[in-house]
């Protein structure tokens, strides 16, 4: 809700040039909001981690709806695929008049084989392919009004709660992909660890990430100003978030909560004393969703584009006739 500042012709308290009357520049926020609500926006999230870490459950919990491909009619005990596959599922969800086209990219088979060498390659290829698609559209002579954005805005990397340290595969993956996509590491199935174990594990993981030079989102180098920096510092201190996912509801103290019922108590997903799911959700959706998209577009995509245009003497703009064929 926007409050109109009426200035009665004399000096305004914010400095700058004084306004002699109300103009209405501040209504631009309202105009932007209206437009965004009409067009809606895209958000593409990728989940990576070996099977059994609760990826699908967590995504369902995050978006409070059955959006994972497990629920889209896939059998629960599917066989582990022999190579890493990339499967994406799209849903349109609406809240408060705002439409979001959420695309979830799953990577079954990652880290499940006996020999996991190069299992990050199909994922890297997929991410680059999305950049390539966008680049081709951008470079066209006659461009579409709104280029469909299939680029991966955020990659949630699930760390296994061993309680000891990161695995070799985790470090390899994050090292290789932190420069082409926003990686948010999270500790899966956090109800395996007691509070002390969780703190110790987090510290150790953070140290290892630092030592390996892995820049996870929010990256320090992209903090715009001091305010951003202090906000992001707080978040970086608390990462990686230790989360628990659930899509079942139970009655606790008269309230209905999302949780997991064990013989010794109910793990409440949204209780900050139990796990850090609420923090992750707020961070991911309520405060940094737009920033994730911006960093992807302004930084990761631009890096890719610069690299592509510098090699092979650059891309040639495609004529409209070619476009018709390539868009099939």
């Amino acid at each position: 809700d926007i409050c109109l500042i009426r200035s009665s012709g004399t000096h305004s308290s914010t400095g700058g040039s004084t306004l002699l009357g109300y103009i209405g520049i501040d209504t631009i926020i309202e105009q932007m909001r209206k437009k965004t609500m009409k067009t809606g926006f895209d958000f593409n999230i990728m989940v990576v981690g070996h099977s059994g870490l609760g990826k699908s459950t967590l995504v369902n919990t995050l978006f409070k709806s059955q959006v994972s491909r497990r629920s889209a009619g896939w059998a629960r005990d599917e066989k582990i695929p022999k190579t890493v596959e990339i499967k994406s599922v799209s849903h349109v969800i609406e809240e408060g008049g705002v439409k979001m086209k959420l695309t979830l990219v799953d990577t079954p088979g990652f880290g499940d084989q006996i020999n996991n060498d190069n299992c990050w390659e199909p994922i890297s290829k997929f991410i680059n392919e999305q950049y390539e698609k966008f680049l081709k559209e951008e470079v066209n002579i006659t461009r579409k009004k709104r280029i469909p954005d299939t680029r991966v805005h955020c990659c949630l990397y699930f760390i296994s709660p061993t309680g000891h340290s990161l695995r070799q595969l985790d470090i390899e993956f994050m090292k290789r992909l932190s420069h082409s996509v926003n990686i948010i590491p999270i500790i899966a199935k956090a109800d395996t660890m007691t509070t002390e174990e969780r703190q110790e594990f987090k510290q150790r993981v953070r140290k290892e990430l630092e030592m390996s030079g892995i820049e996870f989102y929010p990256q320090k180098e992209f903090d715009d100003d001091m305010e951003d920096k202090s906000d992001n510092d707080k978040i970086r201190e608390a990462m990686p978030f230790a989360v628990v996912g659930s899509d079942k509801e139970y009655q606790v103290n008269g309230k209905r909560v999302l949780g997991r019922k064990t013989a010794w108590g109910v793990v409440e997903v949204e209780n900050p004393n139990h796990c850090e799911f609420a923090q992750l959700r707020d961070f991911l959706i309520r405060s940094h969703l737009q920033d994730l998209k911006e960093v992807t577009h302004n930084i990761h995509y631009e890096t890719y584009r610069a690299k592509r245009l510098n090699e092979n003497g650059g891309l040639h703009p495609i004529s409209s006739s070619d476009t018709q064929e390539s868009n099939l």
Binding site: G52, G54, D77, N115, D117, T162, H164, T262, W264, V267
Partner: protein
């Protein structure tokens, strides 16, 4: 009680005794002897790091096998799979147990885990080999039994099913050692998830024909009921902890979460007590027996069959496995004798050839010598002739010279004669 006696000697018959004989005391004697000897048990734990293996061992045996001063292998980062053993002597009620825990740090932790089971297989085989060698020795007084009696395989609580690594490992080890699969960190799963997971695992185990350790049926009905209950719970879902927490005034071992305490020894929370009872209180001896009678015998027959049929085709090996060792030894002896004969013949041949060669050589050198001798003789004769020639010349010269001398002398004489004559003449004048 009457003694029923029949004249046939081959039938074993149940006889009733008239009085107390006393061999009912036999089990006590066996017991006392065993207690004096002490027991040995080797337990192997396999699984990825971070699955709570060390904690579970500490909980099972109520000791701190791995503590802050001697951290467990999982606290140290390993690049390749190692096999480490730790021995602990535990005493309880006069019975002493030498417990060996074999740990496999680094298993399944690398990016490429192909053949990470090989060090484990090598270890198990080497222990069986040690025992085989000890058994075959002449002096068998002390035979320590270091064979692996039981292998606890830890499955990560994913909730879905077995991983390819789990299946590969169990397939390769199920005929070498007793494999007992466990679901680790079972407090991650809710009861429903646990049930589904167990069913899925058992299904996959049957699909891949993996032979996990089977509990033997007993004659006692009560025991059978218990055993059937245990079988239904396989694979056992365990939680380990050595931390004592107070719950409702009671001190229990468990894990303290913000939402409650997961009690390790509570049957409704996890299957830890089932595992402990089964492993230590009821089936320890059976595990040792199965290791000795089945796994070790498999190893032994494979090993010995390979040794006695060295150099023979693999297809023939299969048939020869059914012969008795004595027949095999006879055959071996015959083979050996034939081989010896052949070797002898060969040697003779070689010998003859060598002799011929030597003779030829000697002949050659003899001819050479003769030739040289001839040459030398000729040289000598030539020299002799030369010398003779010289001599002749010399003689001739000598004769000439002598002749000349004589002439000279004659002349001299003549000269002196005339002088004399002249003198005489002169004087006379």
């Amino acid at each position: 009680a009457l003694i029923q006696c029949k004249t046939s000697t081959l039938n074993w018959q149940q006889r009733n005794l008239e009085g107390y004989v006393g061999f009912a005391n036999l089990p006590n004697q066996v017991y006392r002897k065993s207690v004096k000897r002490g027991f040995e048990f080797t337990l192997m734990v396999v699984g990825e790091s971070g699955l709570g293996k060390s904690t579970l061992i500490n909980s099972l045996f109520l000791t701190d096998l791995y503590s802050k001063d001697y951290p467990g292998p999982s606290q140290r980062i390993k690049k390749t799979v190692q096999v480490e053993q730790s021995k602990v002597l535990v005493k309880e009620g006069g019975v002493q147990l030498t417990l060996t825990i074999v740990d496999t740090p680094g298993f399944g932790d690398a990016v490429d885990n192909s053949n990470c089971w090989q060090p484990v297989i090598n270890y198990i085989d080497s222990k069986c080999e040690d025992f085989l060698n000890a058994e075959s020795r002449v002096n068998r007084r002390s035979m320590p039994d270091n064979r692996v009696h039981c292998c606890l395989y830890f499955i990560a609580p994913s909730g879905h099913g077995l991983k390819p690594l789990d299946i590969e490992f169990m397939k390769r080890l199920h005929d070498k050692v007793n494999v007992i699969p466990l679901i680790a960190k079972a407090d991650t799963l809710t009861p429903e998830e646990c049930q589904l997971f167990k069913k899925q695992i058992m299904k996959e185990i049957q699909e891949h024909k993996i032979k996990i350790y089977e509990f033997p049926d007993t004659e006692d009905d009560e025991d059978n009921k218990l055993i059937r209950k245990i079988k239904e719970k396989m694979p056992l879902a365990v939680v380990g902890s050595n931390v004592v927490i107070e719950v409702n005034g009671k001190k229990v071992r468990g894990r303290q979460y913000p939402w409650g305490v997961a009690e390790v020894e509570n049957g409704e929370h996890c299957d830890f007590t089932v595992l402990r009872n089964m492993l230590i209180r009821t089936h320890m001896q059976d595990l040792k027996d199965v290791t000795n009678n089945v796994h070790y015998e498999n190893y032994r027959s494979k090993k010995l069959a390979a040794v006695t049929c060295n150099g023979v085709d693999a297809s023939k090996t299969k048939g020869q496995l059914t012969k008795s060792p004595l027949a095999q030894m006879e055959e071996e002896r015959r083979d050996h004798v034939m081989k010896m004969k052949k070797m002898e013949a060969e040697m003779e041949q070689v010998f003859e050839m060598k002799v011929k060669e030597k003779k030829q050589k000697l002949k050659d050198s003899e001819a050479e010598l003769e030739r040289r001798h001839e040459q030398m003789k000729r040289n000598l004769e030539a020299q002799y002739k030369e010398l003779e020639e010289k001599r002749r010349v010399f003689e001739e010269e000598k004769v000439n010279w002598e002749a000349q001398q004589r002439i000279l002398e004659q002349q001299k004489l003549d000269a002196s004669k005339t002088m004399e004559k002249n003198k005489k003449k002169g004087k006379i004048f």
